[in-house]
C-alpha cells in the first residue's frame, strides 16, 4: 500500500512540474519550443486529467474526446493565462468547464442533475487555512484506509451528487488546496468548505449504513445519564 502511494505521489509530483516558472516560459514562447513544451504538458497531465474526467464520464471513448477538447481549449487560451493561479489549477478549471459542457449536453433534459455545477468564473484566491493538529488526530498509518473500507468509501463517493463528488474528488482525493478548488469551481473558499464538509458527512453516513451501523451519533446524554446514575 505504501509503495503504491509513493508511486502515485511521484506521478503527482511530475504533474506539479508544470508549475515551474521555466516551464511556463517555454510554454508561452512560439515555434517548436512551444510545441515541445505543450507535448510535455500533455504527457504530464494526461493521467490526472483523464482520471478526473472519468469521475463524471464513465465511457472511456467519451472521456478521451473530452480530454482532447480540454487540450484544445488550454492551447487556445494559453495566451490569456495571467499566472494568477498555478498552471495546474488553471488547467483543472478548463477541465471543469468542459465536463460541465459535456454533462450539459447529455442531461439537458434532466436539469436537476446539473444543480450546482456552475462553469468557472473569475474568483479571488483567499488566504490559506490555518492547519494545526488536534488531540484526536490519527497517525499516518491509521489514516491509511484498509481495502474493505476503501471500497465502501468509493461506492459512497459514486453515489454523491455531481457537485459534492467533484469537490470531494478535487480536495480529498487529488489533494488540491481549498484555494485551488475554490478557483477551479468559481466558488468562495467558505462555500468550498461548507460543501466539502457536507460531502464528507454524506460519505461517512453512507459508509456507516453499509456497515450496518447508522447510529454512531450516540447521544452523549445517555453517557451523561449513565455517569450520573453511577455516581
Amino acid at each position: 500500500m505504501k509503495e503504491e502511494l509513493e508511486k502515485k505521489s511521484q506521478s503527482k509530483n511530475r504533474f506539479e512540474e508544470l508549475n515551474a516558472p521555466s516551464f511556463l516560459v517555454a510554454l508561452l514562447q512560439s515555434g517548436t519550443g512551444q510545441q515541445r513544451a505543450f507535448r510535455r504538458l500533455v504527457e504530464l497531465s494526461h493521467g490526472p486529467l483523464l482520471y478526473y474526467v472519468r469521475k463524471f464520464i464513465s465511457s472511456m471513448e467519451e472521456a478521451q474526446e473530452v480530454l482532447q477538447e480540454i487540450y484544445l481549449a488550454v492551447h487556445k487560451s494559453l495566451p490569456r493565462f495571467e499566472g494568477k493561479s498555478k498552471l495546474t489549477t488553471w488547467i483543472y478549471g478548463m477541465a471543469h468547464n468542459k465536463i460541465c459542457d459535456k454533462l450539459s449536453d447529455r442531461y439537458r433534459q434532466h436539469e436537476e442533475y446539473l444543480d450546482g455545477l456552475q462553469p468557472m468564473s473569475e474568483s479571488e484566491i483567499v488566504a490559506g487555512d490555518l492547519v494545526r493538529s488536534s488531540e484526536w488526530d490519527l497517525s499516518p498509518d491509521q489514516v491509511l484506509i484498509q481495502n474493505d473500507l476503501r471500497e465502501k468509501i468509493k461506492d459512497a463517493v459514486e453515489s454523491l451528487p455531481p457537485q459534492a463528488k467533484e469537490i470531494y474528488h478535487l480536495r480529498d482525493v487529488e489533494g488540491l488546496s481549498g484555494e485551488d478548488v475554490a478557483q477551479i469551481l468559481g466558488l468562495s473558499l467558505a462555500a468550498v468548505r461548507v460543501r466539502l464538509h457536507r460531502a464528507r458527512n454524506l460519505i461517512v453516513e453512507m459508509v456507516q449504513k453499509m456497515e450496518g451501523n447508522d447510529s454512531l451519533g450516540v447521544n452523549i446524554e445517555k453517557n451523561i445519564s449513565k455517569n450520573r446514575d453511577d455516581s
Partner: protein
C-alpha cells in the same frame, strides 16, 4: 451537576457540525476543550470522527495516474494533427 455537564459538553450534533474546524485546529481553546471532553465520553462520536478523518485523507482512492501508452499516443496524435505538438 447534570445540568452543568450538559452546559459544558457539546451535544453530538454540534460536534458533527464543527468536525472540519476541529481537525484543522481552528477551534478556539475553549471549544477544543469541550470538543475533547465530548469525545472522551462518546464512543459513537469517536468512531464518527475516525471515519471522517479517513474519508478526508482519501489519496489512496486515486487510481494509477499513469494512463495507458495507447491512450496517451492517441491524444498526442490528435493534437499533432491539430498542429499543437
Amino acid at each position: 451537576m447534570s445540568s452543568l455537564v450538559h452546559k459544558v459538553i457539546y451535544p453530538c450534533t454540534t460536534l458533527h457540525q464543527f468536525l472540519m474546524d476541529y481537525m484543522e485546529g481552528t477551534l478556539n481553546p475553549l471549544m477544543t476543550f469541550r470538543f475533547n471532553l465530548h469525545l472522551k465520553m462518546c464512543s459513537g462520536c469517536r468512531k464518527y470522527l475516525e471515519l471522517y478523518q479517513k474519508v478526508s485523507h482519501a489519496e489512496s482512492l486515486q487510481q494509477e495516474f499513469e494512463p495507458s501508452e495507447e491512450l496517451l499516443d492517441a491524444t498526442l496524435k490528435f493534437l499533432e494533427k491539430e498542429g499543437l505538438t
